[in-house]
Subunit: 375 residues, 2 copies
Amino acid sequence: MLSFRHQASAPRATLDDLETPCALVDLDRLSANLDAMASYTVVHGLALRPHVKTHKSPRIAAEQMRLGAAGLTCATPRELEVMSEVSGDLLLAYPAIGSARVKRVMELPREVRVSVGLDSMIAIDELAAGARAADRDVDVLIEVDLGMHRVGVQSAEEALALAMHVRASAPLRFAGVMFYPGHIREHVSEHHGKLTQLASDVQHLIRVLRDAGLPPRVVSGGSTPLAWRIHEVPGVTEVRPGTYVYNDRTTAEIGSCSWDDIAFTVLGTVVSTAVPGQAVVDCGAKALGREPMRGVAGEGFGALFDRPEVVVARMSEEHGILDLSNTDWRPRVGDRVRIVPNHVCIVVHLNDVIHGVRGNQVETTWPVSARGRQP
Amino acid sequence: MLSFRHQASAPRATLDDLETPCALVDLDRLSANLDAMASYTVVHGLALRPHVKTHKSPRIAAEQMRLGAAGLTCATPRELEVMSEVSGDLLLAYPAIGSARVKRVMELPREVRVSVGLDSMIAIDELAAGARAADRDVDVLIEVDLGMHRVGVQSAEEALALAMHVRASAPLRFAGVMFYPGHIREHVSEHHGKLTQLASDVQHLIRVLRDAGLPPRVVSGGSTPLAWRIHEVPGVTEVRPGTYVYNDRTTAEIGSCSWDDIAFTVLGTVVSTAVPGQAVVDCGAKALGREPMRGVAGEGFGALFDRPEVVVARMSEEHGILDLSNTDWRPRVGDRVRIVPNHVCIVVHLNDVIHGVRGNQVETTWPVSARGRQP
């Protein structure tokens, strides 16, 4: 297993040798981010089951496991297949709807313990049929909506009804509940108090299930924005943060990390300064995504790492327009910049490889093995 | 060369056999779209140099060439490399800034005639140095900003200065000018009159260059939104539409095509109906992109092909939230939908393969060979 701290170094390339646009990860910051979350969860007695959607790379997943993660969280069959090589305990935090999806889950190596999160009777029936055909135990977590309003049942009573249906659907096993508190940015003042409500809702949910004889073994919650506060919600047993490995402009702006904790940037080149007041870089929507800031105000689609006041104000597919109105900096064609994207998970999905760097040195390059959909 | 009209059929899969999310192209509509643009350009005596960014697939590029295209337009070295197998006349409509980019241009097969669009002295000098080292002729188009305010010199006089510098920088050859009128949606009422201004600007540009003894052989303009009107701009010799092959929600809404001309959809599955008033499909930002409507109002990030009143109102990476407030339709978990994305070029970039369909039949599957950045 590869540690990012002590890597053998081959003859080294520098950032100047890289073709742009490309994705960079600062290896020291990555290590620090991995350590910090591992420590937080140990201190608070929480199981850490990182969501791999952010990095989609077995190399980083293996490092997360080495640092004590209980298992990994995945969103797609592809992520499960790739991650089955580095962890024996995988959660598909996504309903396995559709025969192809169920089949790919059932075909994972048999030594891998698989859990699935879901929120409907249909999802239970499809999964149970697949599990019976494959003669395979599958743990089920009932997904509950605690304010995100994306997926999840709307009440503890609905959760109980699904839990009872799981119990009656061997070889499925009721393991517990999960929720995704992605609507809460506790560090943002308007969100104060939401954590208290969440704690109350979680307590109620656990009580209803316990009173019915179905106490949840697993209560899985926690995103990167809430990672450092989720221990304030009694009963939570597990967290599933993803973004913390790399961080991004949003996690910094909402206060979940500092700007200096951002490990991921997109390296770009200024390709045009012909239009006054702006500079054009080769990082457009196909390199940076077009993600807004989430849960906090913020202009543009990314900001310069070294000059956060300069944002990517507009975009085409292969063009990013840097707004120069808040800076005296006047770049020349050919200058290179490092851009912090608003939302790193999307950017990783746009790249086939990631370059691991320390300062100006490129130490390693790894594939984003779990991107895409194909087996 | 493969014609999409007369394809040998293997034992056929149907849409039900496909795993979601995935990208579908209706082969009959694709053929009709390819034919329509080929006819338009023939009728008006315009050279057709389609931009491959939309499809990134040599199979479709070959069909464009078979139907009379003069050559192809590319945005990246990867696109040039892949398309050099199907066309001997390629335009890089992007400044070749950076030694790696120049090198990849120069290493294209020598029988391929290469043109590059650019807007700075630095770009000319870098390209000239590369061309001299490779002993390779390269045609240059000066990019002019005629209202898009993205790249391009700001006046005819600046264009002339660059053209003169090209002439003095053998083996570069001054071939003409290019512009991208992506700011004009002539079918949208607020944009009426912009075409008249464009025609006047193009006339002035040609006159300034001609008077200086540098008449442009190529005057390259024209996007999909303007494709059907660009013949009204005297002097234009060539068009570079991309989106017309597939079309999307934006091209339909601005009136460049009808809804029935949309060839591209994303096939998705309803995975949750737990939250009232909405249904969740497995097409989030990683499957659909997060593109706004461009140049016209329109809510959401895509709309159902069969029910355009149902839009993808919100998104996470793997979740798309269908707003059910404008419909009586109440989908069940497991139902399948076809979504028309706002901006198809971005969606193609998110996929590794495309499925060619006729009705419910999957006739063929092809790779998006020119996606990504690697050689």
